[in-house]
Amino acid sequence: MNGFFDIPSDLQHSWLGLIGLHLREALIPVLAGLVLALPIGQLCVRVRWLYPPVLWVTTVLYAVPSLAFFVVLIDYTGQSETTVMIPLAVYSLVVLVPAIVDGVRSVPQETLAAATAMGFGPVRRYLQVQLPIAVPALIAGLRVATVSSISLVSVGTLIGNQGALGNLLADAMFYHRPVLAVNSVVTTAALAIVIDALLVLLRKVLTPWAPPASGRTRPARRLLGRPAKEGTALRPEPAALAVQDTAPVKDTAR
């Protein structure tokens, strides 16, 4: 692996600098998506008829390819980081809204009734009861959003070297140094896996009541069975990957 960390000087960053840049370009959009998705999700839970149209809009947005998205935005935001980050924020939003809605809806009526009986107002009930119970579903959505965001930043290299670690790919072709492409792929993948693991850890910290997930029981049945009736057919990214995450909560909540 000769020259693995030899980053061409035209990128104006060291290897660690590129990682930092990559994380910034990938994570700020996810955060922005989360900030937008929380109120939208809550609105969809409150106003039931709003959910299907919201799902349709988000599904359509999700279908727009990232490169097409980037390119159309160049006209407005130029060849800058913002151009890369806006589509990523939209994709995160699209993944997170169904996750939040499903999570909040999975809170059993009895639990809500108990909270109300204890004198919780709507705001406190949302923050202290519904949101914590929705955390596993939310983190599951965040995992999907973060990993795809990290992977998609690389495409930014096509619109004027805004791809952080992806810029190594352009240089790999330009200077005929395959090792740079290896570096880009391996580093990006490792970054995604590390952040994903951190999110799993975060879920464990935030949901101390949840029993460890086990593959033997089939706790996901109810959770998946129910949304399938309402809107799974519309859902952009099947939350299935994340189901392992969400599974235990339903059980404990009951």
Partner: protein, 221 residues
Amino acid sequence: MNVLNFINAFFSDSAHWHGYDGIPHRLLEHVQYSLIALAIAAAIGLPVGLITGHTGRGGTTLALIATAARALPSFGLLVLMFVLLGLGLLPVMIPLVVLAIPPILVTTYEAVRTVEPAPVDAARGMGMTEPRILFQVELPVALPLILSGLRSAAIQIVSTATIAAYVSLGGLGRYIVDGLYQRNYEKVVGGATLVAVLALATLGLFWAAARAAVSPGVRRS
């Protein structure tokens, strides 16, 4: 609206409708790449998902493989394959297939695994063989979710196939990549529009397929 002007200019220019770099030819290329990749991914993902879902074993392993595959950046993989293998269809197919397998595999597994156990037990009690249970009881019930997995795989393939143009292949990405180099934004926006429309058409196609293939009983319940 600048973008609308670009779109209008691109599609009204008759030069864009003929020959090797014409819209029909590029569209065909794009659809070809996408279909081949989807077929390969489905040929791998569906059987494995059905079998693991039916037996209920290997879920943890599947989730691990899927997370790992998802972590691989498709664009990076494409360039890497191109640098290592040179020009051809193979370097494009590898990242597209790697991209498409996780959604197909994991949704199929979850869809089959989460079928209500009562009808499955009933079928078993009636003496149905395991393959018949899988194909005649579990598959019809799981179909909507399986199709949604295939759909998100297809859409991701259609979006990502754009990138093939970066390594000198065809497809609709040609307009975007060439346009970017030539500073011809009319071409870029036109290409982007075509890809978006194709992705939406895919969405519609799967919606229609779900309407046609899913039995009404399953759809309602």
